[in-house]
């Protein structure tokens, strides 16, 4: 008798734990049940992200850089399995391989940004009065991401990496039609050094989950790579309620698109703080 396969149950990734939707709902995609995140799941993820963010931002830039690099290592080591999932979800052999190459390299690229932002975006201001004045970038806080539907993995990583490099925590809605690669990536993150709650990944339906995320009053910024203009306008309107930073761009399909211009992606998710200190006795 042939051996019975042990199938995988896909779950949401919230606060470092793999959980079913609190609503108990799921959608059947192919032969796999995918959890359908509810408004309450979004709220739980927001709470986890807010809790994790301050500590993530307070780690040294060197440490955050190493943790992002470690995430690339974790992804690289699981690439065979995730490539297979991408192929099952419609990618050709070469495309699946290229997507994994790019996703790993994008993580490495942004890992190197963590300790360079201050010198590139900040510095001492030569003010015309007796003060030491300097400006430095800080994370905006908790960032919501609506990832592109395709490419399913790179589209997510391209939004996650700059947000994390800047010191933000993220709540992301992953690909709707091919969520498995992103949820498998969550497992890679789960065994990397990424602190629990810094990355929270939700699968579900676009309109429902994105609106719940965009409307959350504790969210500081929303990055929309859905390519859906109507949804984009709705997210803008929701952002206005609490003056969230909203940005829209097409999903990245290549390493170049995810990293050029890398700095603009980071700037959209940082604040600049200016401090003044008197000089003299």
């Amino acid at each position: 008798m042939p051996r019975l396969t042990v199938r995988k149950t896909y779950k949401l990734y919230i606060g470092g734990a793999f959980v079913r939707s609190e609503s108990g709902r799921s959608d059947l995609l192919g032969e796999t049940n995918i959890p359908r995140a509810s408004r309450k799941d979004v709220r739980d993820a927001m709470v986890a992200a807010r809790k994790a963010q301050a500590r993530w931002a307070s780690l040294t830039a060197y440490n955050r850089g190493q943790i992002l690099y470690r995430a690339a290592e974790a992804l690289e080591s699981r690439r065979a399995q995730i490539e297979a999932v991408l192929r099952e979800d419609g990618a050709g052999d070469a495309d699946a391989k290229a997507e994994l190459d790019a996703a790993c390299d994008v993580l490495v690229h942004y890992a190197g940004w963590t300790d360079k932002l201050h010198s590139v975006l900040g510095g001492v201001n030569p003010v015309a009065s007796p003060f030491l004045s300097f400006s430095l970038p800080e994370p905006t806080g908790v960032v919501g991401v609506v990832a592109a539907d395709r490419p399913a993995l790179l589209g997510l990583v391209a939004e996650l990496a700059p947000a994390l490099a800047a010191g933000n925590a993220v709540v992301a809605l992953v690909s709707r039609t091919a969520p498995r690669a992103a949820l498998d990536f969550a497992e890679a993150l789960g065994v990397s050094d990424m602190p629990a709650g810094v990355v929270n990944l939700l699968s579900g339906r676009l309109a429902e989950a994105a609106a719940a995320l965009g409307a959350h009053r504790d969210l500081n910024a929303i990055v929309d790579a859905s390519g859906d203009r109507e949804l984009g306008a709705e997210l803008d309107r929701l952002a206005a309620e609490t003056i969230k930073r909203a940005s829209h761009h097409p999903g990245a399909c290549t390493y170049e698109q995810a990293t050029e211009p890398a700095l603009e992606r980071i700037v959209a998710l940082t604040e600049l703080k200016t401090a003044w200190h008197p000089v003299g006795v």
């Binding site: 590139v120 975006l121 201001n125 030569p126 003010v127 015309a128 009065s129 003060f131 004045s133 400006s135 905006t140 806080g141 500081n220 203009r229 109507e230 984009g232 306008a233 709705e234 803008d236 309107r237 952002a239 206005a240 309620e241 609490t242 003056i243 930073r245 050029e260 211009p261 700095l263 603009e264 700037v267 604040e271 600049l272 703080k273 200016t274 401090a275 003044w276 200190h277 008197p278």
Partner: protein
Amino acid sequence: MTVEPRQALVWDYAPAPEATDHLRLRDRYGLFIAGEFREPADSRYEPTINPASEEPIAEVAWAGAEDIQRAVEAARAAQPRWAALPARERAKYIFRIARLIQERARELAVTETLDGGKPLRESRDVDIPLAAAHFFHYAGWADKLRYGVVAREVAPLGVVAQIVPWNFPLLMAAWKLAPALACGNTAILKPAETTPLTALLLAEICQEAELPEGVVAILPGDGATGAALVRAPGIDKVAFTGSTAVGRDIQSALAGRDIALTLELGGKSANIVFEDAAIDQAVEGIVNGIFFNQGHVCCAGSRLLVQESVAEEVIAKLWARMLRLRVGDPLDKNTDVGAVNSAAQLERIQELVQAGEQEGAVRRSIACELPDRGFWFAPTMFTDVSPVHRIAVEEIFGPVVSVLTFRTVEEAIAKTNNSVSGLAAGIWTDKGAKAFQVASALRAGVIWQNTYNHFDPTAAFGGYKESGFGREGGPAGLRPYLRVVR
């Protein structure tokens, strides 16, 4: 408190009023469109008044939809030529504007004080010099943009609509126009309804500088003009400084449109006094933080957080210092606190102060003789304020400070950050390491350590959270007016 200071100070100063006979103000100002002052399409003129006397100063055209359309067309036509000028030539026009502001500084300062009610000492020593400095700083950026935005190829956004408030009329116009022009955009600026005059003098300065027509338009008007301007077809970017409510309306109005936006909105900034601060110095900083410009300052230190162990001393010294504030004629060079900008703003201040009393906070306003006409509010301190009182949460935008206390550093940080806004904060302590630790923990865009209310064109200014997004000043102030080509 054991000793209640005197209620009024008997101390006479000889009046030292600034002359106004050198002003060359016109009776009427049209709309500045395509390099000329023009009649508004619907012939609407409104008086602008002196808030210290309620006397009209001049009549000013208010722009309607048709005027906005004309200004946008002129700005669109001018933009490619302006952007195509050799950058060093663009720079020189902006340098000229800076120089002309310096040359006409006295006239601009007096006009600012007449139109807005702020003490002449402030318009003369802060507003006008900083406005000139801002143009001077950004003029120099015009041919160095690729160094300002990290060696990338950049391009202007196009036509920008800019709306400025009434608290620093010319200075805010400078903050808006200087970087926009340096980056090769053309601009349509709407000054505030109660303070249009220095922007109109700036229009004259643009003419004097021979700025190409259409590069700058000045369209006075009220909120309706502003609302129409940000919704006008042909605008590529909106920059707004003002209230959070209007900022929210603008952000919502631009939803789904590919229009860049920067917002510099309100705040409820905390000024934190630790027990190890130099108390006398801190008291001066508190006064400067909240009574500068009648408290009409978006980053005003309106929430005073004092460590419990020194609260009694700080409150006593602050009250003693407040009693020495001179309130009155803004044109008098001895005046510390001038007129409230408008009847509407006075009403807002009165309403919130009343709420403070009703909610149980203890109010103290200094006894001072206020003029019979005009809009005035005596400097006021509230003690026994709870963090949930409206006067501890809502922006009053007037000379009113709410005093709260804390016990530990952690509590000071938590109380400061417990606000939907995050524009600025002050920290008073003689311990450097503590100052830096607290500064890094505060979620606010500007942190003043042992000082307050300092500004400079080279130093970025702007808020966290609901205080807005985007920065003004320094290289960070270029980015909102550029797009990265690659």
